[in-house]
């Protein structure tokens, strides 16, 4: 027989959890429903969970404009794949190097990494270096390089995994058989590290998929850049609306009529496109994210 306390605890705990996940998920449901709401109806009655008039107009508009949205989508995918694969390569190689503290110089290399995690030049000089020295503006590398390519936390995560989970005897045996470091890394260490690779791979892919700040800083060509990703497009729409609002408040109505903005429901539909892959894929990869958080959380 279950005690009274047990029942009360269950009710209370489930209620709290339920409230939290409800507030987590309701905004997404709102976004999706908003994108299927008739634009005029939404303009008159606002977004609700039970719109009086449904419509696919926003999506048919996007399909019609597919050369813009589709291109942004393709860019998002290219940037994510390119960024993630370069990132994993240099992160794991670097982590393998510093997981060998007996190799002379590796302690210095570790220090170089840690110091870079603690101190930085700040946005202004980082921006100056990338924009003026490396001339990265309005190239695809602007979305790959600045800030995102090698996260110090990921390096430490992988290094710890190498140190704790790869038996030293295995590497030693291979070395006696005449295998060199690169070969050992490729054919022994990497295959044994699939869980941590999946974790950092997914976390890096998510960071690239979601990034808009690099676009904001470095893709500033007038008339929009060919490298705009979905997130950057969404951000640009926000900025254009602000610009529009400023023009309207400054009472220069002659200007404002020229700027054509996508309607709110279309904006919501573009946002739905931005999150769709995450919503679809996340349940399958959920455990890797959780692992990444618990690995990389408090304790290093």
């Amino acid at each position: 027989m279950k005690s009274r306390e047990y029942r009360y605890t269950q009710i209370f705990a489930n209620t709290i959890c339920f409230i939290i996940i409800l507030s987590a998920i309701l905004p997404f449901i709102m976004l999706i429903i908003a994108s299927f709401t008739d634009n005029d109806w939404a303009a008159a009655n606002g977004f609700t969970y039970f719109p009086g008039k449904w419509s696919m107009d926003a999506y048919s508009y996007i399909i019609k404009q597919w050369d813009i949205i589709g291109h942004a989508y393709l860019m998002t995918i290219i940037v994510t794949l390119l960024g993630t694969s370069i990132s994993i390569t240099i992160t794991t190689l670097f982590a393998y190097g510093i997981s060998k503290p007996n190799v002379p110089g590796m302690k210095v290399v570790s220090f170089i990494l840690i110091f870079a995690m603690l101190f930085n030049g700040g946005l202004v000089s980082t921006y100056y270096c990338y924009a003026k020295i490396w001339n990265i503006k309005d190239t695809i590398w602007a979305l790959i390089f600045p800030g995102l390519l090698m996260s110090g936390f990921n390096v430490i995560l992988v290094r710890n995994y190498f140190t704790n989970n790869i038996p030293a005897s295995l590497e030693e045996a291979a070395r006696i058989d005449g295998a060199n470091a690169l070969y050992i890394f490729g054919s022994i260490v990497m295959p044994l590290s699939k869980p941590v690779l999946a974790t950092i791979g997914l976390m890096t892919a998510l960071v690239y998929w979601n990034d808009w700040a690099n676009g904001l800083y470095y893709l500033t060509a007038r008339g929009g850049s060919q490298y705009n990703t979905i997130q950057i497009i969404l951000n640009n729409i926000n900025n254009d609306i602000q610009a529009l609002a400023q023009v309207m408040t400054s009472n220069d109505s002659g200007f404002s009529t020229d700027i054509k903005m996508p309607s709110t429901t279309i904006r919501m539909a573009i946002a739905v496109f931005g999150i769709l892959p995450i919503l679809v894929l996340y349940p399958f990869f959920q455990r890797y994210f959780v692992k990444g958080i618990t690995f990389g959380g408090v304790k290093e």
Binding site: P27, L118, G121, G122, F185, N238, L279, K299
Partner: protein, 312 residues
């Protein structure tokens, strides 16, 4: 002479044995050089009368004038206050919610529900701030927002122009920050709770301790080290704010600035909108150096307090 030869020989041997390792860390080192170390020298921009066309070395020195101008403005105080206040509020509310959630989740006996709660609560964490700004807009928009059009009329309250009224924003930002982060920090505490030795609870049960007393006297005390570690790390980054939250979710709306502009937003604006390199670099250098000092002190403190959770 002999010693020198020996040294050279030793270096040669070390290198020939290990050169592959050096090649392996090289790409990462180059990246650190480009992304982190070169910009560190760029800090001198803060001491220059920066003219981008002349470059860093062509521009004139300006002494400490950039800093003097920055601190003479009213903005310097407001952005510092906002940054610190939000860091503290977010930590307190976020930690409270995360622990409440973790403790409750731990009590849920139905495995499928528990999994579902955990999975869904992490969803907001996976979204970019741009997306969050769209989600917030669906609720807060003056013309078509859910709150103005559906909730306030029921309560008989007039529409609120959310993006123009600053007084609500401390609450909105705290809510959004907690909403996005609670699933993440919950996992930290939850995995901690799962690691507690079950014997403690068994013993407490035999002694007739109620659930509430078990939580009060076993679970919460054992979470204390994690809370303290996170608190200290948070203090180390108290001068940093999440640019995305304050820039995107507020839609960078001017009337809200008194309560929503933080150091990071200010730096961005001074740099990209006003091309005021003096002010922005002064603010950004202050942030970097104070941040560095704080995180080093935080780590020192952690080492003393609980060495196992020190960062380095």
């Amino acid at each position: 002479m002999k010693n020198k030869n020996q040294l050279v020989h030793k270096i040669k041997i070390t290198f020939s044995q290990n050169w592959l390792y050096y090649i392996m860390v090289l790409p990462g080192l180059i990246y650190l050089l480009i992304n982190s170390y070169l910009p560190m020298f760029g800090i001198i921009i803060a001491f220059k009368k920066m003219d981008f066309s002349k470059g860093i070395f062509g521009s004139e020195w300006n002494g400490l004038n950039n800093f003097r101008f920055l601190f003479a403005t009213n903005d310097a105080w407001i952005i510092t206050r906002n940054t610190i206040a939000y860091s503290i509020i977010f930590f307190i509310v976020g930690t409270f919610m995360a622990i409440l959630f973790a403790v409750c989740l731990n009590e849920v006996t139905n495995k499928i529900s528990a999994k579902l709660y955990q999975t869904i609560s992490l969803l907001p964490y996976l979204m970019s701030w741009v997306i969050v700004s769209y989600l917030a807009f669906a609720f807060l928009s003056s013309e078509s927002g859910f709150i103005n059009k559906s909730i306030l009329p029921i309560l008989g309250i007039d529409s609120i122009s959310w993006y123009h009224e600053k007084d609500y924003w401390p609450f909105i930002l705290t809510f959004v920050s907690t909403w996005k982060g609670v699933g993440y920090s919950m996992i930290l505490y939850y995995s901690n709770i799962l690691g507690i030795n079950q014997d403690y609870f068994e013993a407490a049960k035999i002694d007739g301790a109620s659930k509430l007393r078990q939580i009060r006297y076993i679970t919460l005390p054992l979470l204390k080290p994690t809370v303290i570690t996170l608190l200290i790390l948070n203090l180390g980054s108290i001068f940093r704010s999440d640019f995305g939250l304050f820039y995107q979710v507020t839609k960078n709306s001017g009337p809200l600035y008194p309560y929503t502009r933080t150091i990071d937003v200010y730096i961005y604006q001074a740099l990209m909108k006003n091309a005021d390199y003096g002010m922005s670099s002064a603010a950004s250098v202050c942030q970097s150096i104070i941040g560095f000092v704080l995180i080093i002190s935080a780590n020192k403190f952690l080492r003393k307090y609980q060495a196992s959770s020190a960062l380095f």
